[in-house]
């Protein structure tokens, strides 16, 4: 494991743009608002709870590591405007009841201190939407569902703010990409093979079908569902293909996309059927788990999978935000399995929490005087490049989710590390716990562009 970590580090360092990290500590990349008040003696608490030991644990656990590292980073530099940072979190194991009791405990224990809460899952967002509004607590979430962010009618913005575009908007954006790439996707028909929860169903709504249909991209009305515990999903994949799909779209994580890709290879359809998905399919776990099955051309089954990438990625080391997070990741000796979306984005979330508190405290005069309504006012007035550009924070005119996205493709690095491998002989292989491993990379295919707004249609 250590060897794998070392080799991945070497790979990334050799990417050509990484400054001499070992020699000097990088400056914090954000353009943070200057402090106008001295908050010495006060504490900015970063409250969060969610599934750290249940079905989503493999993707969420690095949240704690990233927040811990960020808190230590700031406290080691005298805090934020003199205020110490602290992390207060709970593991709910993915249980609705546990999420509710964690919320009750947080609100009863911390009372007025709890103005801003970080949540992980759409389900928790939907559960707490009304309570957050009633208690006037702002919540940052990675990618909430329509109901959690905009209510049942899709038109009532609440107190939750998502750093990713809505999944339905991500899907609509993918349809735009498909329609604009007829040489890659001739006569496109998209079939959903996806998880059955709120996250998995996002994008299967009639509004998305209509929107994509208008672009000349047919979307099958019948989604195919599978569970994270399924051993074999041949039936679901074949159902979609029999119905005419030549693109399979999935809202699933880790083993989900890898299982679909492996099934396509088993059926000998890896070249005929394209695979795509929501931003989570681009995660490191998919790139590693997708190596279990190789295509006949010798590259991993998920090589060439399309997905949303609404933030910068680890391999975009020319950007100071990624350089900085990567340096912190290395300094804190985090393992390769933590080098995923959650670790990267959580540093960004902490940055936006800090900026939010600084701006609000500047207005209110002290942290004690800050209320949830003040925080909300700040958030809605902000136009902020998180960590100088990792993500963008702009929630004007009732928006509750990010509006910019881009499409990327999952590939594997070549031996010269100058781009993606085209065949196994050309691919970079490193020693990993399961033998030789390909090194996954993300290749952006489009610039950041506005996503279509499909909610409430």
């Amino acid at each position: 494991m250590k060897r794998l970590c070392l080799l991945l580090v070497l790979l990334l360092m050799a990417w050509g743009t990484l400054p001499s990290l070992a020699q000097e500590m990088m400056d914090y990349p954000s353009d943070l608002t200057e402090c106008e008040v001295d908050l010495t003696g006060e504490t900015i608490n970063i409250f969060h709870f969610g599934d750290l030991s249940g079905p989503y644990a493999f993707i969420t656990q690095p949240v704690v590591s990233a927040v811990t590292d960020a808190v230590n980073y700031w406290n080691g530099r005298g805090g934020v405007c003199g205020a110490e940072l602290a992390q207060i979190y709970e593991d709910t194991g993915g249980s609705r009841e546990a999420a509710q009791s964690a919320y009750d405990r947080f609100t009863s224990t911390y009372g007025d201190q709890l103005d801003l809460l970080l949540l992980y899952s759409s389900d928790d967002g939907e559960l707490l939407r009304e309570q957050l509004a009633e208690d006037e607590i702002v919540s940052f979430i990675s990618a909430g569902s329509i109901e959690s962010l905009y209510g049942e009618d899709g038109q009532t913005p609440g107190w939750l703010y998502a750093s990713n575009p809505l999944y339905i908007n991500q899907f609509g954006f993918f349809c735009q990409f498909v329609a604009a790439s007829p040489e890659v996707f001739p006569d496109p028909v998209i079939g959903f093979v996806t998880w059955p929860n709120a996250f998995g169903r996002a994008g299967t709504e009639p509004a998305a079908r209509e929107y994509c249909g208008g672009l000349g991209v047919e979307v099958l009305a019948e989604p195919q569902f599978f569970l994270p515990t399924d051993t074999d999903i041949l039936t679901q994949v074949q159902n979609a293909i029999d119905d005419g799909a030549n693109i399979i779209y999935t809202n699933s994580l880790a083993t989900g996309p890898a299982l679909i890709a492996g099934t396509l290879v088993d059926l000998g359809l890896e070249e005929d059927i394209k695979l795509a998905g929501v931003n989570w399919v681009m995660d490191t776990t998919v790139g590693l788990l997708g190596q279990r099955v190789l295509k006949p051309n010798g590259l991993p089954s998920v090589d060439g999978m399309f997905g949303s990438m609404p933030f910068l990625w680890w391999t975009e080391l020319s950007h100071p935000a990624v350089q900085f997070v990567y340096q912190q990741f290395t300094i804190n000796e985090r393992g390769p399995t933590e080098q995923n979306i959650a670790y990267l984005v959580s540093w960004g979330v902490v940055d936006s929490i800090i900026e939010t508190y600084v701006r609000t405290a500047n207005r209110a005069g002290s942290l004690d005087a800050v209320t949830g309504a003040d925080i909300r006012e700040t958030v809605e007035a902000m136009d902020y490049a998180i960590l100088g550009g990792l993500m963008h924070h702009r929630f004007e005119e009732g928006m509750r989710d990010a509006t910019m996205n881009r499409i990327a493709v999952l590939k594997y690095a070549n031996t010269t590390m100058s781009g993606p491998a085209t065949e196994p002989g050309d691919a970079l292989l490193v020693d990993g716990p399961a033998g030789k491993m390909f090194v996954p990379i993300i290749v952006p295919l489009t610039d950041f562009m506005p996503v279509p707004q499909l909610r409430g249609q």
Partner: protein, 394 residues
């Protein structure tokens, strides 16, 4: 008429089953008529093979129930722990001598002290214990990565035995003579403890377990394509090799356990113990030892299932939920029936796959159909298809 019914009750019951089966098949036949033969054959193959995996998981639950009457809710987490132990030995090129020695020592000490801790000092037992530790440690550490299978199988064997014996010794044994429900609740607590242990020891990240890898291609075994039947089936059906291996292993385990329970003294003692632990003890059966063996065997079965499932889809905490999906198979086959576990598993596998084939939109296959079948069978046969009819004397 009544006399006729009473005299031919068995035949009439089976006739009713037959009519119900024909009616269902006629209904399904109409639905299936629009499907290609290749899809139906494929669904049949997938159903049977996935059902075999379910059967293997169900077997571990049934073995515990058959011997102790306890429904083990910790079985899913035993699968996870067993799979993780296998992964630890399978993917590490240099096994720590200290770690292997500690695991071997703990396992041997637990085995040799099954009757009592004093047993460790008696006769040649210290020598046997030491010998066992040396042999197990040597098997876990000999050679390099090329010996990974030997390391992993030995390590998993030792780890599973240790886990089973520890659960029995510290969680189940103190409850001998207490209501069964207490022991069932204890298995829920054990599940949470194993959950915590897994998180601390291995974290929560998905792990790749490359046990079904073809050394020629360094990829998972290619499935067998039934190309020869392409014309007949109007398409190609495939058979996934790793599921065939899992199915064959399940069959071997089933035959072994059927023979074990029927023809060995330990197997017979296990069955007697499950009837009444105190009575069994009073006639000289060593209930402690029997329960210990049962839990060790079940933990080993769970570990095998964990390795097979982890090899097929990846090792994660989600594997524990497979045991929940197997509960209908266990109840369908009958809580104490070894063969019922396999048949229940295959039936549930088939029902899931055909349900998905015919109506995939709202998870009819996985969420609805298995439970409908289970309800139907339990209404007709409350003890499951092959369960023992219990007569309570008051």
């Amino acid at each position: 008429m009544t006399e006729f019914i009473n005299r031919n009750k068995r035949q009439l019951t089976w006739a009713l089953y037959l009519i119900a089966a024909v009616a269902i098949l006629l209904f399904l036949g109409d639905q299936l008529a629009g499907k290609k033969a290749a899809r139906i054959v494929q669904t049949l193959i997938s159903g049977v093979l996935v059902g075999g995996v379910y059967g293997l998981v169900a077997l571990g639950i049934v073995v515990i129930n058959k011997a102790s009457g306890v429904f083990n809710f910790a079985h899913g987490w035993m699968m996870v722990v067993g799979g993780m132990i296998f992964w630890s030995f399978f993917t590490v090129s240099e096994i720590s001598l200290l770690g292997a020695g500690l695991l071997s020592s703990a396992t041997m000490l637990m085995i040799m002290s099954t009757v009592s801790w004093r047993n460790l000092r008696e006769g040649r037992n210290p020598l046997i214990t030491l010998g066992g530790i040396i042999v197990l440690t040597a098997l876990m550490t000999v050679g390099g990565i090329e010996w990974q299978w030997l390391h992993a199988l030995t390590g998993t064997f030792a780890g599973a035995i240790l886990m089973g014996l520890a659960v029995e010794r510290f969680a189940i044994r103190p409850l001998i003579g207490q209501p069964l429900f207490t022991a069932v609740l204890m298995t829920l607590a054990v599940a949470e403890v194993l959950h915590g242990v897994t998180q601390i020891a291995w974290g929560t990240v998905e792990l790749n377990l490359p046990v079904f890898v073809d050394p020629q291609t360094n990829s998972r075994f290619r499935p067998i394509r039934l190309d020869a039947f392409r014309d007949v089936l109007d398409g190609v059906a495939i058979v996934r090799v790793e599921l065939v291996i899992a199915f064959l292993l399940a069959l071997v385990a089933f035959v072994g356990f059927i023979l074990f329970f029927r023809y060995t003294s330990v197997g017979l003692a296990m069955r007697a113990t499950s009837e009444d632990q105190q009575l069994a003890q009073s006639v000289g059966l060593r209930v402690r030892v029997i329960l210990a063996i049962t839990w060790a065997v079940a933990a080993f079965l769970a570990s095998i299932a964990g390795v097979l499932q982890g090899g097929a889809v990846g090792l994660s905490l989600n594997i524990s939920f497979v045991a929940l999906r197997v509960f209908p198979a266990v109840l369908l086959g009958g809580l104490e029936s070894i063969s019922g576990a396999l048949i229940g598993g295959i039936i549930i596998g088939l029902v899931e796959q055909f349900g998905t084939l015919l109506n995939s939109s709202e998870q009819v296959g996985t969420n609805l159909a298995p439970y409908l079948v289970l309800m139907l069978v339990l209404v007709i046969r409350p003890d499951g298809l092959f369960g023992e009819k219990r007569i309570e004397r008051i």
